[in-house]
């Protein structure tokens, strides 16, 4: 399944909506999309994962790379609407302890205003 990435700009954060599997075949395009925001100074990012039902090791590397890049520039990378299959992998790999997860995009966006 091809990865679809769209962006929506909010005052407090940039929302990147992802649809498809984040895996070895698609992770590069996600990394490129996320990195372009960081390069342009949009470092308060919310990744909407409601349309993602799978991530492999390549996907985890893409998420971690973005997390580091945003935090290095004083921002943060937060996940919203993580689906059960993906949550299980994030939990097993310890990502749930280093990334902030929110039940939906609105809550994640609002968290940057708090």
């Amino acid at each position: 399944m091809d990865l679809q990435v769209t962006t929506e700009l909010f005052e407090s954060a940039t929302v990147v909506r992802v649809k498809g599997s984040v895996d070895g075949l698609t992770a590069d395009s996600l990394t490129t999309a996320l990195q372009s925001h960081v390069n342009e100074g949009r470092v308060r990012l919310v990744c909407d994962l409601s349309g993602v039902d799978y991530t492999s090791s390549a996907g985890l590397r893409a998420l971690l790379g973005t997390l580091k890049a945003t935090r290095q520039q004083g921002g943060d990378f937060r996940l919203a609407a993580v689906q059960p299959n993906v949550h299980k992998i994030l939990e097993l790999s310890g990502f749930t302890s280093i990334l902030k997860l929110y039940r939906d995009v609105d809550t994640a966006v609002a968290s940057f205003s708090a």
Partner: protein
């Protein structure tokens, strides 16, 4: 269970063709997880049906038993039957009285590093049926088994010699079954160093790794020293699993495909009646990954 090794029913030629120069090397890694490791049989069934061959099998602790039987070429029905025979209370019910006395009165009865609370003759006998006398060199699929050096904590990868010794070492649950000597090393449960050894597959050249992971079960009630030991082991093994899984996912560029079966209830150490469910869930979890696996094997770069 017979002490006579069972001849694989299915010839090697009947398995999907593994390694070719045209495609990526695929490894199956079966992590620690006691009876839940039987889910690997469901994975195996799904891969066979899809015609996807495996280039190597890596097993740890409970996973080492399934890795061994698959690598030796046993058919799925036989392994399922052997599983039912193996995971019975018989393998832990007899106490190692001498060892326990030694633990409390070491000056009287003696005590050394080969301590275990449970008499290990029953588990050895159970393993002897399918694995007795079999060697790594006989394996249809290259096989690697992980254990831990009790004296220096090193992870040890066993890839030659007697398979039964390697499995016995890999399942030497601390406090429960005594460590097992191979050569000059005293070995114990692989889950103490590497509960899901994807790094072994990477080192052996795998590019795509199907990693079947399980969190160790917690006993329903802690009503004996053995259960206490299982509980302690589960606590640190689960933490180690997460730490290692994170590290290997991020540190390497092999594609690690987690296969995580979902069970509708807790699977205890001796829940052999749940084995069909365990296998079915392993099959289901694998089927979910097949489309992606096919696309990877179709030659699209990882």
């Amino acid at each position: 269970m017979s002490d006579v090794p069972i001849t694989p029913i299915r010839p090697a030629s009947a398995y999907p063709t593994p390694l070719t120069s045209q495609r990526k090397r695929v490894a199956l890694v079966i992590g620690a997880g006691s009876v839940k490791c039987a889910a690997a049989l469901g994975l195996w069934r799904a891969l066979n049906r899809a015609g996807i061959g495996i280039d190597m099998v890596v097993g740890c602790s409970g996973g080492s038993m399934y890795a061994s039987m698959m690598a030796l070429g046993y058919d799925q029905e036989t392994v399922e039957r052997l599983t039912r025979q193996l995971w019975t209370r018989r393998i832990t019910e007899k106490r190692n009285t001498r060892g326990l006395l030694g633990a409390f009165l070491p000056k009287v009865f003696g005590f050394d590093a080969r301590f275990g609370m449970v008499d290990d003759r029953a588990v050895w006998e159970a393993l002897s049926g399918p694995l007795g006398g079999r060697r790594f060199e006989e394996a249809v699929i290259p096989l690697h088994i992980v254990a831990t050096d009790f004296m220096n904590a090193e992870r040890v990868v066993l890839s030659e010699g007697n398979i039964i010794d390697a499995v016995r070492a890999s399942i030497a649950i601390p406090y429960v079954w005594r460590p097992w000597k191979i050569g000059d090393r005293l070995l114990m449960d692989g889950c103490m160093s590497d509960p899901l050894p994807v790094d072994v597959a990477i080192r052996e050249g795998a590019q795509i790794i199907l990693a079947m992971a399980f969190e160790s079960p917690f006993p329903r009630r802690i009503k004996s020293a053995t259960r206490f030991a299982f509980q302690v082991n589960s606590v640190y093994t689960n933490n180690l699993l997460r730490a290692n899984f994170a590290f290997h996912n991020l540190a390497h560029h092999a594609e690690i495909i987690p296969v995580l079966p979902e069970f509708d209830s807790e699977i205890g150490l001796f829940d052999t009646h749940k084995i069909p469910h365990v296998i079915e869930q392993g099959e289901r979890a694998t089927e979910a990954q097949l489309p992606y696996l096919h696309r990877l094997l179709d030659g699209i770069a990882v």
